[in-house]
Symmetry: D3
Subunit: 291 residues, 6 copies
């Protein structure tokens, strides 16, 4: 169960409302790098957590914290929209500030939400539930979470760079700090459950002997000739998971050209597709004829 | 530029066509853990790569390899659909094998594609371009790639577990092996560009002194009382990035209750929303009246 | 800010796991009538609330309660999936129970989430942020909320009807009760801010004299002749908002056939579209020629 | 069956083409508050109407009227785009009017549609069929329709406010009037089939005794302490449906902390997740081992 | 403006309700090959038609006819759902007919719509406005329409093949016939406005001399060696538009390897990406340093 | 399998970076008329090709070429973004060039991708897998491909018209030429497999005698009276497929008004919907009562 106190986790002040910045902030709410994603991702991972209890508990803690981040940012969007206007009237053309604002603002902030935050990104594309990753594999989920916090912190620094509103910079500096912690937090779980050698290859519960043994540590170069510069730590030496040796190999087909034969009559392809196909055995054709 | 030879990277044989398994394989083609995602993700990262040339080259190599994986899986779907039928007629009810097939098959494999693979996942939800992650930050991208290969290998092992078709198991064992390599490959880049301490917090180019200094290494517990079991590597000791000390702290609001005041008249809220609001200064109200 | 205690708002017991029912329950999580929608809808409405403080507070209370409902249902999904299997092997065909399960189960519950709830509906379609309605107009929002709770309670009764698992029926009976309360709650706000006559037409702050005065209380019948049976409370008598008289009128065009003229040359239509158009004045054509 | 006469339901004149306003008008076509939604919603409700014939007939009448509204708005978009240009050339920078236009215009109005309306909203997000609500429950559907017309009329007034083009204001004043009628119309159905006490809780055909009897009229406060201001008509007195008494109660968990146990081996979680879990009975663990 | 008469364009009878077939029919309603798409596509093309009046009129005629097709199919879905049930109870397992039905049915037909058609495809994926194609170029639009009717007729024949319900086969035979007419109809426009030589390349209003003159009639083979079998009418002889000669050429790069240089500091890439890049001129690096 | 050489198919030079043009170019990458669509469409058609081998080979050739087009355009986007900035600071208002840029630029080009191309269209809407058309019918697919290249070439000419950057115009002139070839190429297949008379109606393998014989060559006019101007090649004379005679007919209903009867009690409609319905036989009502 969940509770609230109606207060903000951090102060939100906007010195100079800017609808264009409101639009940009939406990326941190409803975007694929945003707080709705991490909030729901951590909560769904917690709700479905199987195994040691402490990971469920931790996910629940931080998922709940992220709700407060949505609240912070939604408040920031509303305050930045205090300066919005839906006037497209003639006088506007004379006001350079209005021009700038209208140009980059999200029209739905006026038309649809009446100057509030929405569950969309900075292009106005709605939040999508497919972004909520929970695999049921703890290590895979922790990498998904580090990824989310890395993209999230990168986004927050770019937003910080985009404004010189003191209040907004202060709020973003707080969110940047939380992302620092959360990157460390998910990495800490990865260390605790085995580190690079213990976790990889993920999932580590699949019997290694069932995996193809000849293609699990070779970098395959698809370069058409030998000019590739794609050499580095991954093309030579011990593998990162400590269980193999990297090699560099030219990719080549191990299979043949596929032949799907003629279409099934019931699927109503064109008649021309069903005509004799030289590479198809007569027996197969006859079989199809009698289906 | 890109080239092809029309051959498969690995052999694809289906001993016993199974439309239900064809539907499941679609997750590995058009799903968020699938090959379309990784293929496009690595290629877009390559196309936009700034910085050392070898990372662009490597991304291009592996993005190109992933195209061959889409080809493998699309071939496998088509071959598994050779047993599909669109007969819902009365006789079907008598054939238990048909019942099973129809139940779990994707009707669009017959209706829309005429027994071929589509750019959708195992629920029939279309591939979505938002899943193609490229942040312009190399470390963030590498984590996104490790995540993709971890979820991808987990998916492949679950597909492997779902079938006892020998050909399918063999193809999946190959793909599982490639995912092992690719996990190692992206981790190798992370090691090469600095490892945990060098890379984190991502982005490492943001000036640390601009980040809020009091909230970057404390685990914030949102538990309503002291019963949380969320303690571990992340709540105590040196942080993973080596730049701070973890602490465990009870979350509390640093901000106040937000007050957005009355709605702007032009936004056509209800009149009742615009009535006097005790917590709103009269001057602000008058200002609004005169807008 | 938000807090949690890790306990469920109501007990969740599953006597007999049923993956098919797990799939159906997803509609109540990630569907357009589900708990994610109402949770986010009430919270976003609260975050953007302008006007009397008590409505913001109430929305925040109930939005927070709905989070606990997501938690309930996600737990129910996970428990129903304990009986799931990804075996499509030959033996399956012999086991009628397995057949039933595989037929209707969501394959992603095994392949993607490893037997946990996901942010999708019962077709596997991801939750979509566009469903989170907040207009900035309190009355419009309350109707959106009554709608959500009406569709939501209807869904819950249909789920209740679909199972005879005692634990599931008990949990659903609780959720059905909460939906009863929430319907009443949003209706109570509508009564408090003016009732039918006070609120309508929504928004009530738009100057009525600006609205077209001849088309605001007439039912327009688009039936091609006089056979329509569409008569009732809406076609005669005082309007519901008490501000007009209903009439029943045959719809007829008040405008002319539109004529958009010829395409602009820069838009690269076909040349044939740009040829002389009898209904287009020569001067307009010449003007276009000289653009 | 449907027919047309090629004339507009109301005159559409644009005195001064404005591509930026064309973009805003798209919200009223392809947005979640737009005419495509209501048109399809009423038609699908009609097509699936079971029960008294007059409601089916009425829905068909108004659904057909809404098609004419799409036609009106699509014509308005096309006429506003007569002033659009795809010139991003140097000279543009010198022309302040062009700057304003390009800033806020939808590039697809030039690139994709060649200066016509599209089935998208004002952010360019495509219309989505999930917005077409029909529950099979007449009262729930009527609330969905009142909601649609309330958000729709609010949108139309905001568009009216955004322009001083006389022709556009006139067309919008007509649409605003129709929304007034349609709000009244759906409310009239609700009155006719029972009003607040007759209809609620929706669905009114579910046996009330099956609903949880202790949680259907209590406002649950999730506020962490007693400071909530969320008191009003909903926290005290007779319920709106006349069947209960409102109370105000502090929310508390009625369930326990959930425990999903260890992951199933076939789902390939990490091995660490499967290790002994203190809160899990040994017998359960052994059972899993033998699965 | 639009009108209706409440009657069906063709009789809809269902001899034996089949919820599984109801699900399949949804593809013809809300799928990318379905009637919603063609209806809206023809209407939007009509609403935005510029140029000779008769094409606008014709598009409006057929767009209006397609509405009646949605009505037919929605009625067919509702009638097929008369046999649906939401019982997942124990007894179900004993009833093979129920098993089959539940397996393949769309659960939302019960849970969400109460046994009516929805605006979704046969996977339950909602209709998407992006499918409504109107380019402003008449010839491009006619090809889009031929495509829609070709995929649509193919779908209808596959549905026809899937059932032996006499009523359903009869309705589908009608729809198949209409698709025959509509394919011919759009082809007739293409003939009328110039045929293959007159229309192509589309758009025919772009000045041909501005197009690259060396790459407009050569088939480029990306095959890695000379084994391609991709030879036919397109690799030799006069081009279809009569304006060139087909040739067969091996694809080779005309451009160089791209070099995007170092990332801009403000975008917060990793520091390692910004380090010296051998292939980057020192001057460029210095310039960046001073930004 | 696929290979690459890291070089561009054509030179990409940007004389004057323009973030607004970068946004427009995205339509040609991730839009429904863009290169991702055609690339994946041709590749999926190839992967699923049944019938004569040369068509599979040809599709594979051109699908592979289109990958190089994505590469070209992604490079062009990145180079146009070199001039992007995320500064919304006060000074910006003074710089008219910045104003123009910020107005029309996609904020995610800075916030999300760090100045690289993304898998989205020019509105920021993500690429959608539903656009990848492959029907399993060769003729239907070829029309889909001609459509794609017609919309694609139209888009490219509009982009060409939008810029006077010499490098961009040169690259677009190359892409325009390739679209000319590809239109011709797919038309060549249509000629080779039978031309208009041989291919239509598509699919040509469905037995014509099963189609409704009275409605396959008549243009149905839904105009409410006789004023339609929709006459042309399609309303008179031999049909384009050579198998019928066009006629012009006034549309009229061949079916009756549908009657779905009363709702099933288990679906929980309102009680009022279930009351006696005069047009419903008593026996049917009783039957429902006993269900």
């Amino acid at each position: 169960m969940f509770y609230h106190d109606g207060k903000l986790q951090y102060d939100v002040k906007v010195d100079k409302p800017n609808p264009q910045f409101a639009k940009m902030l939406q990326q941190a709410i409803g975007g694929i790098e945003g707080e709705m994603k991490v909030c729901l991702q951590y909560l769904f991972q917690a709700f479905g957590a199987r195994g040691p209890e402490k990971y469920r508990d931790m996910l629940l803690e931080t998922g709940t914290e992220e709700m407060a981040h949505i609240e912070l940012l939604a408040t920031a969007v509303a305050l930045n929209l205090e300066g919005a206007t839906n006037d497209l009237k003639d006088e506007v053309a004379k006001d350079p500030f209005m021009e700038q604002i209208m140009g980059g603002a999200n029209p739905r902030h006026i038309l649809s939400s009446g100057m509030c935050a929405m569950a969309v990104d900075s292009s106005g594309v709605p939040f999508n539930g497919s972004w909520v990753i929970g695999t049921g594999n703890l290590a895979a989920d922790m990498y998904a979470n580090v990824t989310a916090e890395s993209a999230g912190r990168t986004l927050a620094t770019r937003l910080w760079q985009s404004t010189d509103d003191k209040g907004m910079k202060d709020m973003l500096a707080f969110l940047i700090a939380r992302d620092t912690m959360h990157q460390n937090q998910w990495l800490a779980v990865l260390e605790e459950i085995g580190g690079l050698e213990g976790n990889h290859p993920i999932p580590n519960s699949f019997p290694r002997e069932k995996e193809n043994q000849y293609n699990n540590y070779n970098f395959l170069s698809t370069h058409i000739n030998g000019e590739s510069k794609a050499k580095g730590r991954w093309s030579d030496g011990k593998s990162i998971d400590g269980k193999g040796e990297f090699t560099f190999e030219k990719a080549k087909p191990l299979g043949r050209k596929p032949n799907l034969g003629r279409p099934h009559p019931n699927a109503y392809a064109q008649k021309e597709q069903m005509k004799a196909n030289p590479s198809m055995a007569e027996s197969a054709i006859n079989k199809m004829r009698n289906d």
